[in-house]
Subunit: 75 residues, 7 copies
């Protein structure tokens, strides 16, 4: 059995609500629609949060991969 | 059916009004005219906003991809 | 005998509890599930620690490799 | 019809007066003479501006692409 | 005779005690077990030092190459 | 006629006195001896200037390209 | 006659005493033993200097290329 690869794990989060943490300290929460090998990522219904507070609703949002620290599932 | 890729989502925003957030905290709002795989992006009728305020009208503007944090549709 | 390569060492930590230190000073502690040549890494049951204190439980978490300083085994 | 690419837009600015904004906050204003895929750029009759003020005349100037935020036409 | 290459010199330090200085000002001291062309490096029995003081014992540690400033032999 | 490329312009400055501005705010002034596609650059008779003042004479100096902001001719 | 390339100039400094300036403001002075296309560099008998003062003797030292600003000959 092949060891799992990181993008496989990300693939399992497609269509689910995820938290994307950015290098500029902001969090985007949205539905994971697409990503590529650079981790360029598209969220649907994205919201920007800062210090746990909703700041803005962004709708469908393209995030450049190199600004991302981590992606986890929203609880 | 192929899973959607991030640049497909960006492609659907061509010709529409978008917000481009930069690593230097500025926002550019303009009509998405062109982009490439590095996310180098061209906006028509671009305006620079800072803290929600219009600072400058820039006209057609080329943005180097590595300075971009995210691109979302202007509401 | 081939000299060992860094990713071999990382491979031996698969399924074990590891500490991932990030460039933004945070630590993630979790079970090493997957990694690739960019050191993009997936942890299961990840917890975010800061200054030795548990801040948040994150569950399965994808970490972009270029934000990682080091990975060691949790004691 | 092929969608336009970002470098096409830049190409249309050749020979015209442009504003180049740098990551170090400075602006260079000059006549766009040449650029390449890295956005390495050459301006003729370049002037350095800071906070809207002319600081220095630089003449023909080579700018390393990775220091550039955006390029727009000078009005 | 071929001029020596930097990785040859690093190779001669395999199995020896080395100091790895990181961009975040920390020092890791450990036994050099493995490295690759990106300078991703594995130390055995690694210790983290800061300002000349032992802060933590880390055991076997994977260090992402792009966080490394220099590697020298521990005296 | 081929449009001129940025390295052509740099090539015309070979053997001439140039100002090299670095990301760390320093200026090096010297005779442009060599450069490559990464903009790694060698100056002969280089002098380091800071805030318009001569700080040090460096002689022949190799500059790593990714530290360079711009290169213009010294007047 | 081929124009000289930057690494040729560096090659002429092999075996000589050089100053290596790092992005973290430190200077390493040592005998240039080896370098590669990334400017990964090995110095023999390296000394770390800061503000013109000897801080530490490091012996043979591997320096990751991307931390280097410039290399000049020690006078």
């Amino acid at each position: 059995m092949e060891p799992e690869r990181p993008l496989d794990a990300l693939n399992q989060a497609r269509g689910k609500r995820v938290i994307v943490e950015l290098k500029n300290q902001k969090q985007l929460i949205g539905t994971l629609k697409a990503f590529d090998i650079h981790i360029n990522t598209v969220l649907d219904d994205a919201e920007e949060h800062e210090n746990g507070q909703l700041k803005r609703k962004l709708g469908t949002t393209f995030i450049r991969g190199d600004t991302i620290v981590l992606i986890s599932q929203a609880s």
